[in-house]
């Protein structure tokens, strides 16, 4: 069960290898989190993540192979998760894939794959969880969106547009869930030093997965519906969204 300070006891992670998700769960382990299911594509990645969580104090960690693009299995994986956890307090949606956005490199296949991994796949499995958790009577979603989706940029517009889609979906889902006991918290990190961005040049105001994790825990505690990490990005983007396109497209990186 979640408590009045927003702290969950059980959680499932979609994209179980995510650095941000793991950092968050390690923080939550110090509070009430005791049982976790990690879903992802690669067994060895999940095993490594599970070991990390166990050493953070969560003894009960299970893993299951699930490719977020495999929409046909969404309902099945939700049932499996519920069977293991009993009740699901927190659904952490962290699946994502940065991909390339240079016009010379991308092809229909890459674009389709990037959008599906970042948007349609997560949206589909969130829908399956929403249906199941409505029966349970409560539950919280945490969805990793990105500032890349707040205003889509030339340098990562495929990823960015998919995150924009996911962000919109999450907002709409949250509104649709009013009165069911379920809710959605959207997380919009800036540049995060993680596996996903390894080797890339850091953007201004870059943060660590731990910092994003702490912002997420804080968001759960304060009952936030949107979390920016770092929080100052809220003000930065309040300005940037109004920048004329001619200027916006000149922003490098």
């Amino acid at each position: 069960m979640n408590d009045v300070t927003g702290m969950p006891q059980t959680a499932v992670v979609i994209g179980g290898g995510s650095d941000i998700a793991l950092a968050t769960l390690r923080s939550l382990a110090k509070r009430r989190l005791r049982r976790v299911v990690l879903l992802g594509r690669h067994e060895e990645v999940l095993n490594g993540a599970a070991a990390q969580l166990r050493s953070a104090g969560i003894e009960d960690v299970s893993i299951a192979i699930y490719d977020v693009n495999d929409v046909g299995r969404a309902a099945e994986i939700v049932e499996k998760t519920v069977e293991i956890l009993g009740t699901v307090d927190l659904v952490f949606v962290a699946a994502g894939f940065l991909g390339d956005a240079k016009l010379e490199v991308i092809d229909p296949e890459i674009v389709s794959r990037t959008i599906s991994t970042n948007f349609t796949g997560p949206a589909a499995v969130m829908t399956a969880f929403a249906h199941r958790l409505a029966v349970q009577g409560y539950g919280r979603f945490v969805v990793l969106s990105s500032v890349a989706g707040v205003r889509v940029r030339k340098s990562n517009f495929v990823y960015g547009s998919a995150k924009a889609g996911l962000d919109g979906f999450a907002q709409g889902l949250d509104d649709a869930l009013v009165g069911t006991g379920l809710s959605v918290m959207i997380v919009r990190p800036g540049f995060v030093h993680s596996k996903m961005t390894f080797g890339l040049k850091a953007a201004p105001m870059a943060v660590t997965p731990e910092a994003v994790g702490q912002a997420i825990v804080r968001g759960l505690e304060t009952g936030a519906s949107v979390v920016w990490a770092p929080s100052s990005l809220f003000w930065v983007f309040a300005v940037l969204v109004h920048l004329p396109r001619r200027l916006w497209r000149l922003i490098p990186g």
Partner: protein, 462 residues
């Protein structure tokens, strides 16, 4: 019998609601048939538990407010038999005029008698007269096997587990209660101002035994020298001779009216860092330094907040919680620590309530024990609150104290057994009367008050 659809239930703190089927039976027989058909359920009264005690996510909430009849009353002995959904307000409106009052009352009259027994509530007379379970003669309890009559001499294990058992032994549908004789519906109140926490505690410790009722309202916000400055109000039921002449003809009139309601939930909490200092200063300085034998209505003395309907809305959309703990005598420093820790966390607490408890009862999950109890209402939504309260829990548990389950929404489950050493005994009794574990609440699942459901857990094959 009305069977509704999934509905969101929240506690009085208006936070962390969960969806459940809303069932509203009108008599014991209907309760029994609903219990028989529900795989998981919990009874609910007027929803005054602050946390998740009367919620049952994904199951059924059995709303007992449809069982509101007064069944029998012996005006000679003062024993009343009522249906469990009858509120203390309704009960008093009936009994006070006849010269009898509930022997124990919490700070609101808007609780049902069933809820009061299930939480084993205490009042301002606990230091002398104990909690409500002491005055219960009989309970009709709908268990998994149907309705049963229990009492201190009739299935005592189940009876005591039911008092303070948070509804986890079954649904209380009827209660027989020994009322207390009164001569008037007024209270003769002595008021004293204490300039800080130490002098307040000293005042309570030295003078309490002279009064039936005793409580201190503590300013939990002021720091430094004035930390814990308080208004101590103590009294007893007035005698007819204490009343002014116009009231002597109608000494037992009792007709409290709710003048104002909070009409809507404001977008932010009205209890905040701006309003609190002003309110607390006004409240402290308005009280007399020392005043004897002031005649107050019972309503004004026992239920000051009841005059403002839906006051919990003042805390805004994020709601609030109440932290109520008790620590044994000799551990007074934990009271100070709790106030200071919450100040340090920047969590503005409105008025706190401080009181000395007397002997505890025989119930395995009953809250009161001899010592000091402190209750603080705290707005939710601060990121510092969760850890601050965890720290307080640790100190309370180390001191041999505990927190009150009827107020709780966030206790660390690992501390439950430490705070309530007789938990296993309680779980054992629940398991005996309810082997399938159908009586379950969000509270019981969150902190493990009932046996864990049979697990058919298998590891997933990756």
């Amino acid at each position: 019998m009305t069977v509704g659809k999934l509905e969101i239930f929240v506690g009085w703190g208006r936070n962390n609601g969960t969806g459940a089927k809303h069932l509203k039976p009108r008599n014991t027989k209907e309760v029994a048939s609903l219990v028989e058909r529900s795989p998981r359920c919990i009874a609910r009264g007027l929803g005054r538990a602050y946390g998740d005690a009367a919620q049952c996510a994904g199951g059924a909430v059995i709303d007992c407010t449809g069982l509101g009849e007064i069944l029998e009353f012996d005006v000679g002995t003062g024993v009343i038999r009522v249906e469990a959904g009858c509120s203390l307000d309704e009960l008093s409106r009936y009994s006070v005029a006849r010269g009898w009052f509930v022997p124990v009352t919490p700070g609101t009259a808007f609780v049902t008698i069933g809820g009061a027994v299930a939480a084993d509530v205490h009042g301002k007379n606990h230091h002398r007269e104990g909690s409500i379970a002491r005055y219960v003669e009989e309970i009709c309890l709908v268990t998994q096997g149907g309705p049963r009559t229990i009492g201190p001499n009739r299935d005592p294990d189940l009876f005591w587990a039911t008092c303070g058992g948070m509804g986890l032994t079954g649904v209380i549908t009827e209660v027989s209660l020994q009322l207390m004789p009164i001569a008037t519906s007024s209270i003769s109140v002595d008021t004293d101002r204490a300039r800080d926490l130490d002098s307040c505690m000293e005042m309570l410790a030295s003078g309490d035994e002279n009064y039936r009722y005793s409580v201190a309202w503590v300013d939990a916000r002021t720091r430094g020298r004035g930390l814990g400055r308080s208004i101590v109000t103590r009294g007893d039921h007035a005698k007819v001779g204490d009343l002014v002449s116009t009231q002597r003809n109608i000494p037992l009139s009792y007709n409290p009216v709710q003048r104002v309601r909070v009409p809507f939930t404001p977008p932010v909490s009205m209890v905040n860092a701006l309003t609190l200092p002003v309110f607390n200063a006004l409240w402290y300085h308005k009280a007399p330094k020392h005043r004897l034998r002031e005649i107050q209505s019972m309503n004004a003395y026992f239920y000051p907040l009841d005059m403002l309907g839906d006051w919990n809305r003042l805390y805004g959309p994020k709601g609030f919680t109440q932290y109520q703990m008790v620590v044994p005598f000799g551990e007074e420093h934990v009271v100070r620590y709790t106030i200071e820790r919450l100040q340090e966390a920047g969590c503005p607490s409105a008025l706190g309530v401080l009181k000395r408890f007397g002997e505890g009862g025989p119930s395995p999950l009953s809250f009161p024990m001899p010592g000091w109890t402190l209750a603080l209402d705290i707005p939710l939504g601060s990121a510092e609150l969760a850890i601050a309260l965890d720290d307080c829990d640790r100190h309370v548990a180390n001191a041999g104290g505990r927190v009150y389950l009827a107020k709780d929404g966030r206790l660390r489950p690992e501390l439950m057994r430490e705070m309530y050493p007789r938990l296993d005994e309680f779980i054992e009794i629940c398991h005996r009367t309810d082997p399938q574990g159908i009586f379950v609440s969000d509270l019981s699942r969150r902190i493990g008050l009932t046996p864990a459901p049979p697990t058919h857990r298998k590891r997933m094959n990756p």
